[in-house]
Amino acid sequence: MRRAWRLRSTRRDVAETAYAVYVAGVMALFVVAPGVAVVIEALRNSAVLDALRSPAAPTAVTLLVGLTWAGATWVGAGFGPVTIDPPLVRLWAGTDLPRRVGLRRPFLQRAAGVVAAWLAAAALVGGVLLADDGDLRAFVLVLLASVLAGTVTAVAWLLGQAAPRRAWWLGLTVAALAVLAASWPPARWFAVVAPLVALAVPLLLDAVRGPELLAQSVRWHAAATTARYGDVQSALGDLRALPRRGRRWRALVGGPDVVRFAVADLVGTWRTTGRFVTGTGALTVAAAALAVVSGAPFGLLLGAGAALLAYLALGVFCDGLRHAAAIGARPGLLGHGTWRLFALHAVAPTVMALATAGLAITVLALAGTSPDPLPVALTLVPVLAVRAWGAAKGQIPVDLLTPVPTPMGDLSGLVVVSWLADAPLVAAGVGGGVAWLLAVGRTTDAVVVGAVVVGLLVLSLRTRVKRL
């Protein structure tokens, strides 16, 4: 088994390993460490420290981590942690070796990545506390708890892959357990759960079905290949969950086209229920953050982050816009012109933006705060326009894939990344800009900025649609 992995892997020689270590060290020392120090210093203020030390913090942590585990279970149903090369899947799935042996290594590699991500987040939070009170023991405890939480996250992810058809209910069960355990101290709760679920890993690896493993591996690798060459629309299309339920639900209704397309898009999205719920939840959180952005510390960062979250969440409801772009490039199949198709498919994400904004503002008002609908509107409307604009972007021009040789290596990747990142950057920029302008009392300017951005995006969208 080890020999097979060794033969299949692309091993570095000593010089390459030394260079990789050198680059990682330099990056950590001169890029990561100063960045982390700046973030920790920025977060070390009374509002953040009070929140971290509040009596409700342990409950919130237990709940949030538990909900993350539930989310990992849902994600695993479509994109599990074990995604080796498709030929290897055929090899391992077709032999008489137990899957707990054949798939252990790729799972452990992914699990290590998950744990590392948790550790990084915990180091940031723990770092804020350590910088304030110098309590090293508490810092180490936070790190240990994050390792345990990361372990459970990885196993929950594998659980979704091992039982994809029950993942929805399993995730709900995990979420319910998180709620029930909310009164436990997080570290103790994680210490109880992590060893128990770790014992289940061999059983879960054995339970992964070959066809499911192959389908997920093919999807991941197709997406990775297309993403490498800048075709992120196709890459994300490969990764997007496919509907399996609700085939008898009524997705078409009579009446005007606007209603028919909106209902078809929303019912279609509801057929990937986990995706719908995640998108709705994230959009509601983003709207809530925008509603309180005016009075919040770091309003600019919060506004940018919330706009980015709204951009990502709205993507769930924009399948229709992507379909309109695909249709627009072909001889007429639907009886509507491409521009009209874009307008019809824009209704569903607009409805969801309105609904989630209304929900967030209502909940905040009931909770006794004073939510401000203006930043919500001034950010969500441009973000909707960004989504439509991004859907009609098309494929990356071949010229941008040309190698850019420099003494530091080929920098064509930077060109591709800058081409890819325009939509999220515009979204985050609008969110941050609007939040900052409102915070300094320049309400009229904020309205003008929102309107100008929407106008420019719509003009650019018209050009893009004509080119499809």
Partner: protein, 206 residues
């Protein structure tokens, strides 16, 4: 038809009257698909004159989009609608009310022998079923000129017979049909006229 200096299609001349069927035949690389793309208005010709339904073909023109239906590649499908729903959506987009559009969708699926797939999602289809579904989609919309590029792809003889009969019905209803095909069955069933493209002519142009 050329891209830069590379010829894709040698000069061809033909007239096709309304309601007639033209079968374009020839080996791979002889320019069949290019000719169909020009007729569908997807690719402008680099020389010569082309007139379809009385105008230069351009798929951006609403008149051309309304009159010309074409299946040149697998059409983009809605990933979250089942086959019958998307077919009905295509029907309603051309002015049908919902109930007649649903009836038409069921009839089309039955006509090509895939009624049992009405509630499947597109990703649940085999490649042959996808080809049949693509044909139902292009048949779901009204048109004066129907352009099909190798509709026989990935179809077994029985399905091919169904497709031939379905196209014969469109032809009898007055639809003008241009198809590129390697299938003697389809050509024998449908063609009133035949245009044989020669790979040698295309090469000679180089």
């Amino acid at each position: 038809m050329r891209i830069d200096d590379a010829p894709l299609l040698p000069p061809v001349t033909f007239d096709l009257e309304h309601g007639r069927t033209l079968a374009v035949t020839g080996p791979n690389g002889s320019g069949k698909t290019t000719l169909l793309r020009v007729l569908a208005g997807v690719q402008p010709p680099s020389g010569g004159d082309v007139s379809v339904l009385g105008a230069a073909p351009d798929e951006r023109s609403p008149t051309v989009r309304a009159g010309v239906a074409a299946l040149l590649d697998p059409p983009p499908l809605s990933r979250s609608l089942v086959l019958a729903e998307y077919l009905a959506l295509v029907g309603t987009s051309w002015g049908l009310e919902l109930d007649p559009a649903i009836d038409q969708a069921e009839d089309l699926l039955a006509e090509l022998g895939i009624a049992a797939l009405a509630h499947r999602f597109p990703h649940e289809l085999s490649s042959g079923q996808r080809q049949l579904y693509g044909l139902t989609l292009v048949l779901a919309r009204p048109c004066t000129l129907l352009i099909l590029d190798e509709p026989e792809q990935r179809l077994d003889p029985d399905r091919l017979e169904l497709v031939a009969r379905a196209l014969e019905r469109r032809k009898a209803a007055g639809t003008t049909l241009v198809l590129a095909s390697h299938s003697p069955t389809l050509v024998a069933h449908l063609a009133d006229e035949r245009l044989e493209l020669d790979e040698a002519s295309a090469l000679a142009e180089r």
